[in-house]
Amino acid sequence: MKPHTVSVLVENRAGVLSRVAGMFSRRGFNIESLAVGPCEEPNMSRITIVVNGDDGVIEQVMKQTNKLIDVIKVSDLTERESVERELALIKVAAETGPSRAEILQIADIFRAQVVDVGSKTLVLQVTGDTEKIDALEKLLRQYGIKELVRTGKIALLRGAKTVKSSK
């Protein structure tokens, strides 16, 4: 059982996301995160899904996803060289004084950006892999996280290789 990052190229049509997500829930596949948006081709979208399961489950995930008519291509990026990123916005309690300075220092180390400054809060924006964002979140928890939102993982193969159509 380990998380796999699966990249799914789909027709950009109404209802496609619900077809894919519905199939996952119906078959009991365990979605950890899901991110979707337009891609390089005008009529296609790319869905990145992080899904948990043993080899047998992942094989079924790939095959059942591929079976959907609107799915053009499915690839498991897990065993391949890929760049993976998530983005998080974190609103953290930051009264003026020493804690605010500490938070700014931590943000600096994590290369997080301050995107909003309030009298009692800061909003940090951070990108990176899941572990990095988890680590930042853990560190900030002691100051009080008011609100947090993460995008879910997106991923691309490294180098010239691509996840293109023609399945």
Binding site: E11, G15, M23, R26, Q60, K63, N66, I69, K167
Partner: protein, 558 residues
Amino acid sequence: MKTGAKTLIEALQREGVDTIFGYPGGVVLPIYDELYDSSIRHILVRHEQAAAHAADGYARASGRVGVCLATSGPGACNLVTGIATAYMDSIPVVALTGQVPTGLLGNDAFQESDITGITMPVTKHNYLVKDAADLDRVVQEAFYIARTGRPGPVLIDLPKDVSTGQVLEGTPVPGTVSLRGYQPTYQGHVRQIDKALDLIAGAERPLVYAGGGVVLSEASAELLEFVETAAVPVTTTLMGLGAVPGDHPLNLGMLGMHGTQSANYAVTECDLLIAVGVRFDDRVTGKIETFAPNAAVIHIDIDPAEIGKNKKVDVPIVGDVKAVLQALLRRMQKRGDTANWVARTGAWKAQYPLRYRDDDRLRPQYVVEQLSDLLKGEGIVVSEVGQNQMWTALYYCFRKPRTWITSGGLGTMGYGFPAAIGAHYARPDMPVVDVAGDGSFQMNIQELGTVAQYQIPVKVVILNNMYLGMVRQWQELFYDRRYSYTELPPVDFVKIANAYRIEGITVEEKAGVREALETALATDGPFVLDFRVEREENVFPMVPAGAAINEMIGVRQP
């Protein structure tokens, strides 16, 4: 300019549709108005569920795409059980549903239901058409998707303003369908085929396990040739009955929960299992760990997702069963030495025939045997679900594909009678018999109205035990005979038939069986036979849930 409804009918005609099973309503009136003077025959059923089952029965009997039509909301929802039934058995059906006008979509308008959302899990694909100009393409794609690859139902939802919308006359119809996300594999991989042939050449105890995929791919002749050339015994699933002649010496009959002893023993002892167009359903395998425990497995299927889903496979071959069997036959140079094994499985067959108490009581198995004897494989037999289904599967000798029509995957009570109606329109040259339980028949009994109206010559053979028999059997065996809500009061089915102006006979004695069946088959129109059979008869052999398939009850032990 022409209307969307006219465009739709023309598109259906291009697909060769001759019959539609349906039920009207407000938003499909433009379509019904077009049907009024079209060459397409429309059969008015009494419940939309029956329209879906009839389209499915038409598809199973003919190998062509069946078509049903319903109005929006309740009409569309009533199709769902039928669509799910077709989906589970991979049957090509196109379901057309009316929808509220596009401007009202999502507003909870009168008789609106999100039928594409509702049917997403039970269709191969579905469409909500928003522009009449898309109709030609969508209909063409829907039929293509329904009948190619692993077949299945496709739904097209048609808002009223799309049916009344205007399409430019003479708009060119797209020539061929091209869907970049849908490219089924038909030819098996040569390397895998050679690997399979190596295993076949080396096997001492090979067994073919054949299913509905053989029927769907019209591969019966190839399968028979393969079985005979390689000298391999064969067992079929419920869905595969008729794919190999029931009386062929190498045929061990059906396997699984109600399989024959010879088939289930053969699976347990084989050293090579050649799975053809099957999906290792749990009603077949019993406890999966002990299914074919000593065998290497070759799995041939057009749907890659079926391979390795339930059982680990040594040689996967993705492709159309017919094409793969042809390739296997073409390349086969050597077969295994199977003489001992063929003799052994043959001996099981002789030693453990199906049996029931053949005394002077009226027993359901006897009724099915007599029907088999009379039709001699030259008819289409449809079943309902329950004991009636299993007795028909076991005691009727199916000799040809597409002569056995049953709801295998979903196990839908009420399926048989409307499916028999569909089968008649697919094969008007063949007698069609629905073997029913009294419970199942009452689930779509209103279709007596349909068979009466069109004088559809379907014969209904009710094995009337005044119980939900199969459930009662489980209660008898596993719940200490506590018959909780499975008893049905007596019903005079002949009187009901008569009320619809349909003839019928009630039979209470064994002596009357043959004559009653002959009378029904000799009658031109529909006919209802109510056989009052032994009430607590059971279906044996039986593998209790969770057991290995060689652990059968109700049999002589080896």
